[in-house]
Symmetry: C2
Subunit: 230 residues, 2 copies
């Protein structure tokens, strides 16, 4: 079995990505990041997801991106927008260089595992305007990976798999359900409460809810109501 | 004044790079990494270097690369080689994807600071065989940076400055001395002792000592002797 590293946040997209990697018969290694995110509780979901899909190892890298800030997700002074997605704008939930950082760390682990397959659940259709979710970014990272590493110099080619990149949220959910994903244990919300209930109004919640709605299947997400956000 | 981020490890190369950035009239922001390195004590040198060269801010990012391992610098089970540099081999002190990870983090901070100039002291002449110290890697990272970021999408171009890339170690030292660098406060050793004395036999020590020797100036490095490595 070929080894693959899958970036797993505990959200809907990355969970589906892990299920896809598994269905393609990869030996799956899950990688999560405790990076000072507001919704750090997603790591609990990541652990459950990794366990439920039977990964070989689940590693969590700790890094204090909140020391850099510049995003509503890593700077507690910046509020998470709840007024809906504005088109043609990169939202304040964009974390500077996040996918570059995460893929770089995945690349490091890949070298140690002698793996060349990396999976990331980026999405360019229902995407929320993040520059580091686009195909041209992924392709540039692949080129970089082959130049940056000992494995690359020795002639191996890294492949960044993005199985969701051209799917709508509804199609992603459809594929996940087909593969037996239990979306109840996943959390997409940018500001869930302490028992992992979702706010229902941030961009991540809106995109997720819309996906279930368009597909016409029940949304297993539990939402908290105002005054219950603790 | 234009802002620049300079990767500062506390070693000879990065210190010279910071002095060069300063001489080019950049407003200098130093970035260091506490990444589980064996020679973590280099961060003390980084603080001294940053202070002595009057940076505006010195940020330290913490990340546990020792959880990934795969290098003599991040895995305490792997010994640092002391038998001299073997040509045409990537040494075991290579840290998987390290410069990709470090530049990615610098890129994140750059976006927040609204800076587009990044300085890194990589060197391809007296270089120790690391793939992520080569010009082609740097150029690929520049391309990636412009695709990965909000700033890039908005039309700004990131520049990765590598002022040492074509210099020998002797030339680097010569340039640093001209700029008033005090190399006594820097540490290049991969396994210094607790009072920041160098081993004298690792690759980093060998390259550094050779540089001073070739230039014909006194080497201010203090070496510990066997039995004095604590």
């Amino acid at each position: 079995m070929k080894k693959a590293i899958i970036l797993v946040s505990g959200g809907l997209d990355s969970t589906t990505t892990l299920a896809i990697a598994k269905s393609q018969n990869y030996a799956c290694y899950a990688l999560s990041f405790d990076y000072g995110q507001r919704h750090r509780i997603e790591l609990q979901a990541a652990h459950q997801v990794a366990a439920s899909l039977g990964v070989i190892e689940h590693k969590v890298i700790h890094l204090n991106l909140d020391a850099i800030g510049g995003s509503a997700l890593t700077d507690s002074q910046i509020k998470v927008p709840t007024t809906g997605i504005l088109s043609n704008q990169i939202p304040i939930t964009y974390v500077p260089a996040r996918n570059t950082i995460f893929l770089a760390l995945a690349l490091g682990w890949a070298e140690v595992l002698m793996a060349t397959d990396l999976f990331i659940g980026v999405n360019a259709v229902d995407y929320s305007g993040y520059p580091d979710c686009r195909p041209e970014f992924i392709s540039a990272f692949e080129k970089l990976a082959n130049l940056a590493t000992k494995a690359g110099v020795e002639g191996q080619a890294f492949k960044i798999h993005t199985p969701l990149i051209h799917l709508t949220k509804a199609q992603i959910i459809q594929q996940g359900l087909r593969l037996g994903v239990d979306y109840k244990i996943t959390i997409s919300c940018y500001q869930p409460n302490s028992v992992r209930h979702a706010c229902g109004v941030c961009d991540a919640c809106r995109l997720r809810a819309e996906g279930f709605q368009k597909l016409g299947v029940a949304d297993p997400t539990v939402y908290f109501t105002r005054g219950d956000s603790s």
